[in-house]
């Protein structure tokens, strides 16, 4: 049950979807960050956004808890 709840958190969405999405977007756009693999950059970006969303309770300027 706890695992199921975790799957629906912003952090899980960031790791499961947004990270690879950002990484593949960077690759498609030909953007690189030195020796850093794009997947690492994508995951870092996604985790930052997911962490903020987790803390605020919503992805954008509003809170889904309202």
């Amino acid at each position: 049950m706890i695992a199921l709840r975790l799957l629906f958190t912003p952090i899980a969405f960031a790791l499961g979807f947004l990270g690879p999405l950002f990484a593949q977007s960077l690759t498609a756009l030909g953007v690189t960050f030195g020796d850093l693999p794009n997947l690492a950059v994508g995951l870092a970006m996604a985790l930052l956004l997911g962490g903020i969303a987790q803390y605020r309770g919503g992805w954008l300027w509003h809170s889904s808890k309202q």
Partner: protein, 288 residues
Amino acid sequence: MAQLEAVADYAAMSAAELDLVEREISAPFLREFPLGIVLWGLSNAVIWLALWPLVFMDILPLWLAFPIATLNVALSYLPSHDAQHNIIARRGQRLRWLNELVGHVSVIPLATSFRVLRATHMEHHRHTNDPALDPDYDTHAENTLDFFRKHIGNGFGGRYTTTLARIGRNDLVLEGVLFNLGYLLILFALAWSGHALEAAFLWWLPQQIAVLWLRYYLSWVPHHPGTAQGRYRDTRAFKSLLGNLFSGGMQYHIVHHLYPTIPLMRTPAAYRALRPILEQRGCDLGGL
């Protein structure tokens, strides 16, 4: 002129007479077989499903598939809505299977359970604009800007789980969770297998855009300001800047709440026929 005379006649009628005339006018529109919505629902889902192999095999570029997918997801709800009201066929009728097929298949692009939508939508009809009981009450907003501020990024049915629990349909709570879980896991699997862009532009982003459009035109606009309850007060007609087509046929939503078994595609004609009576009833017709 004829319409003016009709309005004058209606003004002289008692409430019971008005009810009778209203029912007589609406009767021919009820439960007409909605062939258009059947074809719409099934073909729309097939087109959306076909986008995936077309994009994966590089037959269709993703930039072109994205707007088509967005249109598909946006168009996926309304055929299911007719099926929710058993308009295609009622229980026990020969084509009942088709009603259920359209209901289930048409909402595949929305990644939402038809049975959950049906159960919660019936509660919306029972309790329209009731702050405690209307499952769609959370779409209420002061104005368009307020609506978008509240709803960009929010998915379907924030109150559906509590509604289903209240009516004792815990089986549908589970079904809703499984649908959401399935959707998430498919997105994750696609993303981690190198197809995140396809998942984003064929499903996730189209769904975000479509749900926002659906919530705006199917829920917020036709019920705004959403403060009144009662048969002739809880919905309204309105003139959409985008026309009836791009507002999902919702300009005539008042007809749907009065007679939920009139097919979506017949609501404009039914509205025109019922308009003098609705005017007499003091309904908000929004200049339509």
